[in-house]
Symmetry: C2
């Protein structure tokens, strides 16, 4: 049976030694977020998450969420674990103090999400979905809505959902058909059916707040006619107490590949009472407030599962005995060595470790930019951090979740046949992680967001500023770091060439760049990880101990064996999109 | 719900137009295998497989094989479908006429295996395992053993197993501990426990023949002391009738990620009666007769599932409407187009199609070499074909099964959220296909077989002869094919450079090449597919119709977008193994 131990040491390395999260204390709001507090929080969170939630990962998968007469029952133990988790204040960790949050940095909450996803990805979705609702209300809610709902989301006694998808409207939200008809009292009656609603119905909280995209009568067609509404499962009286149940019914939940402990609901809104959030017909823009934060969170889900797979694979490879080192003389009889002596097993482990730890650095640094962009006193710095978050959001979502699947697959492979059977828990990682590449915008859509919007945003400065940061980091590197600066220089050059080509070729036809989008996102992600591994190398150089030696060894592996993959992708990007777009549909058969 | 339609047209293309399977009719044994017969067989097989076995794929997955009091019950419908399949003679298609087979080419049987795996991978394992037992007996059995068992395997009223793995002996079969104690009557009593035994116990056949690796008292330690035995589930009387049950007990079957319709058994041999097959202490060598054929078959499993994923994804992409082409003007309102208009969806479909069809060409041509190596009158030609089979076996197993997982994953991705739920059948492909990368020698072991044995076998002529074939094919290409000969020339050069480097660096340390083995197998596979796509291009050039245009379009995509990936891998191969092998175990944490 697989275990999960929150990688507190690595988290501290990233937070304290790499991205210097203590610099956030210069923001008044975060003046208490000292390294001591950070470490204390990490240790407490790890203790609770590993001890009470991680242990439910496999049982939750086996039992799954169950629907009975419209009521969803979560797997055994989820209810108690959720209550304790909310009680400890983890859900409100980075929420505003005025709404009963802890007011700590989002960066720290990101580390806790990393833990929670690694411990139990399915469980993590219940508190996870509340974040988006909180942020949508914070950005667009009326004061009365904020007062009525936000503390409950922060405390976790209520949870949230994102009701976007319909059978005919997935990636294409312009096709949303759910109707919202205004009533005399200012409320709306919502009529329609939503699908794939995570945490749409469950038994963990007293109430569920549905953020719903719908169309009012006479609204413009397409995405410009969609508005956002909040529709609670139980109506709320003016005094804050719960009233009658709203007519929102869950007739079925999906049978899925994985994340069985998380319920994925069909929700029917039968003239359900809802209230407009933000302006009429601005629902898509409002939704993106939720969505961007959700995308970063999904990246953390990929990271968490990758971490879970990696630590189990390393443990197994140090225990499981099969075969002998190639350099040991062949004898007819021998005692088997542990499989970590085999080069190909090491290749797999170091691939897993370098991708996972690299993604952690990228994700936490991006989270720090979220904190800066929202809270720093300096407007220029806020804007620069916002730009970095905009650029990195599709990378964190698209690249990390692809890494999640790759690393989960390698984890199965390291275990061999013992990885394919359920009892060792490795195959669950692969089943759970695949959804991360799909929801909150498929990875294809992330790639399109990167090339279609982020490259050209703010006059094309987003990638340029980032590449300048990478160069500055290389310029201040010493000769001890040349093992990584040399391949990183070549890789960055290739990325810059591809970037220029994409911007230029888009003028000719958007199909050229779109056909290359997925490959470009991979290249961008690899170079970004190279940049962070260089930074990690600088921190670890000259320090004693296995941990720092491990960082240098892992950076060396990444620089030597993974980063150069970009040179197989950049020529492919620049080969253009004709071979993709020219074939008539009827010859693709 | 996913459907599967055996790709008879593509199979005919490969068999008749590409590898010219009719040339096998010059072998007396195969003189009846004319194109007419071949087409007739394919059509009949497709009709039965698609109609009676393919329809059980999802129900078989949902229900699974079940164990009750030591008896395994296969999913509903498997028993009737198996009986009809055996009755039609498909299992004996390429078996010897003297043992009630049809005596047709193995190449043709390979196409039928391709169909069967695509229709229902879990089901395919039941007849599949019988092949290995048949071949082991054919190569090493006594005449009496052949007479007693082989017709039953060919007719399919009995089935076979390969009992190799034990808890402490997976990849490392030298650790096998099962004992076989000789008895006065020449039989042996087998004592021990085997795990992961596919089709080890089931209700489809009257008897099951277990081919068991075990160790006799006083045998040498390690792999040189292992012998092969045959132990039937029911003892067989001299007149061929079944007698009492042998003491072989199935106490449990595995819960697995996929192939749920296939039972994976623990088998306890409690002084079970067995008979030596072949020479004492030559069990490992004998086992490799089964194993090599099984490896090619596992490649077909990967191919079958890739085909299933590909054809469903293409159909879905032509039906599912979301979004609009990038080249169509943005309007607030529009009717959605089918998702096949999106460049990234096309990229996924063409990746799936070019890998799948490329692997089919490689696999069938390798199967033809199996036929030639075993049956051709010309000894030199037999030897050359044997060498090609030796070279291509790890590629067919390792590369195609990796392709299987990649293509299955893309299939889920094309469907988006609808791919992650069970009802559309796409996630099953991913769950089913992962085992193909593991059993019959993990893909890491395939890569080691390629670099460790196949590159140096016969004085290093295996790769050289193959590379010469590729060059000859390019030399006879015309300018119409330059879109593929140009990138193929560069890719082959890179492969040759890597090959020379591997052979040389192995002298210094086997770890250098071993650390690069997996990447090298990928490069080898990509170049091999490039070679076959060039051959397909030559066939299709100048021919009318969507099918041939599709071949040219798919070849163009492969040559432009996938083949150049080798240039990201070859430098990585030649970077050596130090970064993999140097780190001490305690820094990999």
């Amino acid at each position: 049976m697989a275990e999960y131990k929150s990688p507190v040491r690595d988290m501290e390395f990233v937070l304290n030694e790499l991205i210097h999260v203590e610099s956030l204390t210069e923001i008044k709001k975060f003046e208490d977020a000292t390294p001591d507090i950070i470490s204390g929080v990490l240790e407490e969170a790890a203790k609770q998450i590993d001890g009470t939630i991680g242990v439910l990962n496999e049982s939750g998968d086996a039992q799954g969420a169950r629907l009975n007469d419209g009521e969803v029952t979560t797997p055994d133990g989820f209810k108690e674990a959720y209550a304790a988790y909310a009680e400890s204040g983890w859900i409100g960790l980075d929420k505003d103090v005025e709404f009963d949050g802890q007011g700590l940095p989002h960066t720290l909450a990101t580390a806790v999400t990393d833990m929670l996803s690694g411990a139990n990805a399915a469980f993590s979705l219940y508190p996870g979905l509340s974040n988006g609702a909180y942020e949508a209300l914070k950005a667009h809610g009326t004061q009365a809505q904020k007062d009525m709902y936000m503390s409950h989301l922060s405390l976790g006694d209520w949870s949230g959902t994102m009701c976007l998808t319909e059978p005919g409207a997935g990636s294409d939200l312009g096709q949303v058909r759910t109707k919202a008809v205004p009533q005399k009292d200012g409320s709306y009656l919502i009529e329609g059916s939503k699908i794939f609603i995570t945490a749409g119905e469950h038994d963990l909280t007293d109430n569920i707040l549905h953020l719903v995209l719908a169309r009012t009568p006479g609204a413009p067609e397409g995405i410009r006619g969609i508005s956002m509404f909040i529709a609670p499962k139980f109506m709320v009286n003016d005094d804050g107490s719960l009233s009658e149940r709203n007519d929102i019914v869950c007739p079925s939940i999906e049978e899925k590949m994985g994340i069985h402990g998380s319920c994925t609901c069909v929700l029917n809104f039968n003239e359900a009472r809802g209230y407009l959030v933000g302006e009429l017909n601005k629902g898509i823009q409002n939704m993106f407030v939720m969505m961007n934060s959700a995308r970063l969170m999904v990246g953390m889900q990929g990271l968490g599962v990758a971490e879970r797979a990696t630590q189990n694979a390393i443990t197994y490879a140090k225990e499981r005995k099969q075969g002998r080192p190639l350099t040991r003389k062949a004898e007819s009889s021998f005692d088997s060595d542990t499989i970590i002596v085999h080069p190909d097993v090491r290749r797999m482990l170091l691939t897993m470790k370098s991708l996972t730890e690299g993604c952690r650095m990228m994700a936490y640094d991006t989270a720090k930019h979220v904190d800066l962009s929202e809270n720093h006193a300096d407007g220029a710095l806020r804007a620069a951090s916002k730009a970095r978050v905009d650029l990195m959001t599709p990378i964190c979502k698209g690249f990390i979740t692809d890494v999640g699947v790759e690393v989960a697959g390698l984890g199965v492979q390291v275990y061999g046949g013992h990885g394919y059977i359920k009892e060792n828990g490795m195959e669950q990682n692969l089943r759970d992680s695949k959804i991360f590449c799909i929801y909150e915008g498929t990875n294809g859509i992330q790639a399109m967001d990167l090339i279609g919007r982020k490259l050209s945003m703010n006059g094309g400065t987003l990638p340029k500023d980032f590449f300048a940061d990478i160069k500055a980091e290389m310029e201040s590197a010493g000769s001890e770091q040349s093992f990584i600066t040399a391949p990183l220089t070549a890789a960055l050059e290739a990325l810059e060439t591809a970037t220029d080509w994409l911007i230029e070729s888009k003028q000719q036809s958007p199909n050229h760049s779109a056909a290359a989008a997925a490959d470009y996102l991979q290249v961008f992600g690899l170079v970004t990880l190279g940049y962070y591994w260089l930074r990690a190398t600088k921190v670890a150089t000259g320090k004693d101990g296995a941990f720092y030696q491990g960082k240098l060894a892992t950076a060396t592996f990444f620089a030597t064996k993974l980063l150069p993959r970009v040179h197989g992708l950049v020529p492919v990007i620049m080969a253009g999109g004709d071979c993709v777009m020219n074939p008539e549909e009827d010859v693709i058969l």
